[in-house]
Chain length 165, copies 6
C-alpha cells in the first residue's frame, strides 16, 4: 500500500489545498494530511481547530487521515511508512523554495520522494494568507474555502459587509 | 492498479531520466516510459534504437514497460488507463514550460494528473542535448549515461580523445 | 484622445488575446490591434486571413481598429500617434522577454509607454502555438478561440475526431 | 474621464515611483496616488508626512491627486470610480507577487484592470527600503529621491558623511 | 595585488560558503572573508564566535583574512582597497536579490566589481538557516559544515538523536 | 599570473560585452576574449571580421588578447592555462542557462571557475540580436556599439533613415 504525507500549515485550508489533496488521493492508496505544529508562528486557528475543520471536510473520504506533526517532516514521513511527500506548486516563487526543501529532504531521507502536484489555475492566486486578509476585511471568501471554514472565519472576524457582484 | 506514463524524447536517455524513473517506480504500480515520435526533429537515434536502449536498461524491472506514442500525450495516457503523467523538474526554466503543458493537459483530460518529480541535484545540469554535444566532441560521457548508451554514442561519434581527471 | 497599439502575430487570435484587448478598450479611447508582417515565419493563416478573422470579431466595437505593420513597432506606434503599446503578460517566461523589449522600445521612443495587462488566469496556459497544435491533432478548440477562428482551423486541419467530456 | 489609482507605501517616494507616475499621467486623465495606511508596519515617515512630501512634488500637476486608503485596494478604487490600478514592475521578483495580487483583485473586482508600467532600467535596483538604508548610513541619496525627500531624510538621520565621486 | 572581499552573516559558515571561498582564492591574490555586524538580527553565534570558527577553518590558508564590518559593504571594500565583492549564487531566488544589491553597489562604488561564483550543485539546497533548523532538531549536520562548526552546534543544541543511513 | 577566458559569439560585440570585459580586466592579469566558431549558425559577420572589429577596439589594452575557439570551451581554457571563464549576467533568463553551462563546465574541469559579472543596468536590454535587428531596420545603433562596429553594420545594411530625438 502506497502512503503519502501532505504537510502544511492549513491556517485555514483552502480550495487550492483540497484540489491538490484530490489529485493525491487518485495517485496514492492512503494520504495523511498533517498540520505542522510551529510554536514560532501565531496562527488564527489553533492546531485543534484546524484538525477539526479538515476532518469535517474529508470525513467521507476513507483513504484520507488527518494528523499533526512536529520536527522534521521526513522523520514524520518515515514513521508513517510513507513513500512520498505531497506538495502543491502554483508559481515560480513556490518552486524555488519547494525545490530547496525537496533536495534537502531527499538528502535526509533518500527513500522518500517529493511529489509536486499542480492545483487548477483558478487557484494560482490563492493562499491561506490572502484568505485571512479577506476575512479580516470582512470580504466574502465563499469562492475560496469550504462552508465550514467560511463559517469559522466569520465567527472570528464578522460577516462580510456586502455581496460582491 | 495505478499506472503512470513517463513521456519524453530520450535521445538518448540519461542518468537524470533514470533517476526520475526510479522515483516513479516507487510511487506507481506500473510505469510506461514512452518515446515521442516527432517527425519534425532530427534525432541522433531512431525511435527503434531508443526503444532498444531503454528496454535493455529496464529489462530487470518488471513494473516498467517501454513504448512509443504519437499525437497528444493525454490521449495516449487515457488509452493506457493511466492516472498520471510523470515529468522531471530540474530548474525554473523547466518549470514554466512544464506548468503550461500540465495546465493544458489538465484542461484536456481532468482525470489525469501531472506528477512532477525532482532528479538528484547532481543531474541539474544534465540533459540529452548536452550529452549529444559532449559525444560529438568525443568527450567522455561515462558519468551521464548507462554503458549501453555510452557505447552507442561512441559507435556514432567515435571514442573519447582522452581521459578527464 | 488616448490611442494604444496592440501588436502581435495573432496566428490565430485566441480568447487570451481578446481578454487583453477587452481590458485595453476599457483604458484607452482607441485601440489599434495590429498584425506583425514577418517574412521569416511561416504562419498557418496569411496576414489577410488574420486581418479578416480579427475584423469579424471586433466588428461591433467601434473603438478598435485592425491593421498590419512592418519594421519596428515603435516607429509604427509613433506614426499612429499612440501613447502606449499594449502587451499581455501571463507568466514569468513572458515577463523577461517582454521586459527587455519594453526597455529597448522605451530607449528608442521615450514618449511611448509599454502597458502590461494580465489575461484571466484561465488563459495562463493558452497561446497560439498550443491552439495550432491542438487543431493539427484534430482536438476541439472550442474553449480557446471564437467560432470563426475555430471554423477556419477546421477547414485547414479537419473537424475534431471526437468530443471531449 | 479615465481615472487610475496608484497605491503604495511610499516610505519614502523615490524617482522610481515618480517615473511610473509620469507614465500613468500620460495614459490616464486622472491619477490618484494613494498611501496605504498599514498599522502593522513601522514606517520612518508618518502617513501625514508622506502625503506632504508627495503633495509638494506633484503640486504643479493638476491631473494628480494625493490620498490615503485603508482596507482592500479594490474597494477603494471602486469608490473612486477608477478603471485601473497602476503598479510598477521592475524585476521577476516583483512580478510574481504582483501577479497574484492582480489576479485576486481581478477576481474581487472584474471591472478594474491592473496596469503594469515599467520604470526606467536605471531604477531597477531602487526601492524605498534601500533609500532608507542609505540614509541611515548617512550616504547621499541625491540620485534616488527628489530634494524635499532628501532633506526630510537628512533631518531624520543626519547629513551625508562625505561626497561620493 | 588583487584583493576581494567576501561578506556574509556566516551564522554558521557552511561547506557551501567554503566552496565559494575556495573558488575566490584561486582567482584573487587575497580574500577577506568578513562577518556583517547586524544589530537587528539575533544570530545563534556571536560575531566573535563566528570569527573564531572561520579563523580555525582558514588557519592554514595564508591568502585569506577574517574580519568584521558594519555599515555599507562598498565603504568597507574601498577602505580595504578591494577590486571586487564576492557573492555565491545558488538559485534564481538568490539571483534577483543579489542582482539589485550589485547594481546599487555598482552605482555607489563604480570601481568595485561584484563577482558571482557558483558553489557545487550539491550545495544548492544548503544555507545557514537550514543548518540551524537541522541542529535545533538534533539531526546530524556532518555533511553540511566542518567539524568545529558541528561541535559548536552540538554544544548549543545537543548531539543528534540518531544516525541517518 | 591569473588568466581568464571570455567566450562568446560577438556578432557583433556591443557596449554590454565591453562593459563586462572592462570589469574582467580589473580582476584578472590577462583576459582572452575568444570568438566561438560555430558552423551551425549563420552570423552576419565572419569570424575574421569579428576578430578584426574586436582587435581594433582593444588595441590599446595590452592585457587583452583576441582569439577564436572550436569545441568545448573548458578544453580551450585549459590549453590557455586560464583560472576562470568570464560570463555576463543580465537577467534571470540568462541566469538559468548560464548556471547549467557553468555546472557542466565545473564537472568537466573542476579547476576552472566560472565568474559571473554584471553589466551596467543600462545594458540590461542589449544583446547582439537586438543590434542586428535595429541595423536591419536602418535604425541608429550609436548608443549600443562602438564606432567601428556601427560603420561595419551600416556598410552591410545601409545608413539609418533618420535621427532619433
Amino acid at each position: 500500500m502506497k502512503i503519502a504525507v501532505y504537510p502544511g500549515s492549513f491556517d485555514p485550508i483552502t480550495y487550492g489545498h483540497l484540489d491538490v489533496l484530490d489529485r493525491a488521493i487518485e495517485i496514492f492508496d492512503n494520504v495523511i494530511i498533517t498540520v505542522a505544529i510551529n510554536a514560532a508562528k501565531k496562527p488564527i486557528f489553533t492546531t485543534e481547530e484546524r484538525i477539526t475543520l479538515i476532518s469535517d471536510i474529508v470525513a467521507a473520504t476513507p483513504s484520507v487521515e488527518v494528523d499533526t506533526f512536529e520536527g522534521l517532516i521526513v522523520d514524520y514521513a518515515r514513521r508513517k511508512h510513507a513513500v512520498a511527500l505531497v506538495r502543491g506548486l502554483r508559481a515560480v516563487s513556490d518552486f524555488e523554495f519547494e525545490f530547496q526543501m525537496a533536495l534537502m529532504n531527499r538528502k535526509l531521507a533518500p527513500d522518500i520522494a517529493t511529489v509536486f502536484l499542480m492545483p487548477n489555475e483558478k487557484f494560482t492566486y490563492l493562499n491561506s494568507s490572502i484568505v485571512r486578509e479577506l476575512a479580516r476585511h470582512r470580504t466574502s471568501v465563499t469562492d475560496f474555502v469550504p462552508d465550514n471554514v467560511r463559517i469559522a472565519l466569520e465567527q472570528r472576524f464578522g460577516t462580510p459587509h456586502r455581496q460582491r457582484t
